[in-house]
């Protein structure tokens, strides 16, 4: 798995809506990491349609420095940036409610 930029997707959604910068840290194909990837994929296709969103997936087994830089000490972890606000969600993202809250917080309380 390659680093972030190449996997970044930018969706041409609404002009005024803020952009989500999502960074998912995973450890190879470990169980929770695979669940996290699938969960994020599902959330994006179900809840972030029409949103401007770029997603970067970083495999710490290939390079763990970006994780240290982000101060992420465990995987899987999703770092959400929106309008300069940074939120981190740990775990395999199977709790969709928790992720959606983090995303709403990221976008709503600004």
């Amino acid at each position: 798995m390659k680093r972030g930029a190449e996997f970044t997707q930018r969706q041409a959604g609404g002009k005024s809506s803020p952009t989500y910068h999502l960074r998912l840290f995973v450890a190879g194909d470990e169980t929770n990491s695979a669940i996290a990837r699938a969960s994020l994929d599902r959330i994006r296709s179900e809840h972030l349609v029409g949103q401007s969103c770029d997603i970067e997936i970083i495999d710490v087994l290939e390079d763990f420095r970006p994780a240290l830089e982000e101060n992420v000490l465990v995987t899987p972890a999703l770092v959400i940036r929106k309008s300069g606000v940074r939120t981190v969600v740990f775990g395999n993202l199977s709790n969709t409610e928790k992720v959606l809250t983090a995303l709403r917080i990221g976008g709503g309380t600004q």
Partner: protein, 572 residues
Amino acid sequence: MIADRSNYEEMESKLAEAEDLVNALRGQEVDAIIGEKRIAMVRLREAEESLRRAKAELEQRVVERTADLAKVNAQLRETIEEQERTWRKLQRSERRLLKAQQIARIGNWEWDVGSDTQWWSDEIYRLLGVEPGQVEPGCESFLSFVHPADREPVRSAICDMLNEKRPCTGEFRILRRDGQERFMHSEIEVELDGQGNAVRIMGTTQDITDRRRVEREMAEARQFAESIVDTVQECLVVLDRQLRVISANRSFQETFGLPPRRIDGRLFYTLGDGQWDIPELREKLRAVLSENTSFEGFELECAVAGSESRSLVLSARPISEPVGDAGMILLAIQDVTAHVQQKRQIEADKRHLELLTEELVVSEERQRRQIAQALHDTIGQSLAFAKRELGVMQKRAPAEMHDSFKQVSEQICDAVERTRNLTFELSPSTLDILGLEAAVEEMAEQFSDCETFACTVRGPGQRIPLTDHVQSLLYRAVRELLVNVAKHAAARSVSILLEQGERDTQVIVQDDGQGFDPSALRADRGKDRGFGLFSIKERLTHLGGSFTIDSAEGRGTKVTLVAPLDIEYRQE
């Protein structure tokens, strides 16, 4: 303030993050922990899973092992119980064998040839009349019990068996210690090794004294029965269900000239020249077994080889075997040829006698008539002449002689009368000239004149066609009856009725006298003289007629005579 607030929010955010991190760790949703220099992989779930699997596997193995152990345990227990059962069975079997040997008076023994040692079962000792173990088992000690007369044959039989290495059987006597002589039967088998050498000899010895005795008694009984059967004059044949001859006695063999080889086992109806192949007889014999019936007195004429036809009377009845229900037939054949011949001879003699009797009657009648004729022609004529001459002489004779003449004349008259009566009695001329009815009427008048009863006669009024001697017989029978009435009946009237039927004539003589018991007459017949009632009856019966008395005390007597009409007359 703003700075503080910012710091506070940052701190709160960090706290939330930390809380989230802890929750993720608790929820085992973490794969890796990133350190300064390296990454630690977290696989708690897998570890737990494998641990759980290992534990489960272990538990499974424990369960399986426990089950295996329980199974082995059960098998072991089963094996032990089986062995115990087998052992108990063996013990029971041994006890039974001992008991069976005791009951059957049979013992067994073994002889190990190599070591020349013998083993005897307890019963062997008992058969020899000693206690088990009282003598050392061995050939010589056994031979010492064998009857001296049988000892050498037994010894040589043992030698032969050892040499020929073949099973053998034998019977011999032993002398027991108590002096009893017993019969023994032995069955011996030889066990050989690979090279054909005798290694072991096994045998049984049985006391057959009782069996011998029973066999002897049965043989004697059978001989006794057979001697009886052979002595019996009647021919006896025993047949099986298929009518095959099981046995035939000597009488049968001799009577029909058949040797046993031509009888035994053959079908009865094929014996001899096929003279027994009579469908009716075969049917009757089959019915004996199928319907369990018997028959007697089946008569048949049967040709026998070398002699004339024989008259036989056959009887058969079913007999059952003592064991089972196979069913046999006992057929008894009585040769009645001689009997039948005698019977025929008697019949012929009787017929001859009857002819003689008839001839006698006719001849008697003829003689009577001749005598009557002679009486009439000679004495009657002479007397008539004498009487006439005397009458002439009386007229010429002196008066003093008249009385004498009268007396002589009366005497001559009396003689004439008597001669006439005698002539009439011997052969009434009326009977010859006018027939039975007229003669009976004349006789009735005579009796009415002389006796105390009135006698009436009724008849057809014309001559009844009868042969001379039947007519004479009936006439004298009526006369005899009337004499009897006069003598015994004390009757006031007698009626005589003559009737002519189609084939015979009937004469009924009925009186109103005191009657009598007819059965007394039969007992009395020996006393009858001459032409008695019995004689009348005999003669009428012989002619084909009858004689019946109907009488009882106080009821008068009615006698009915029946005699045949003259055949030649009827044919005309």
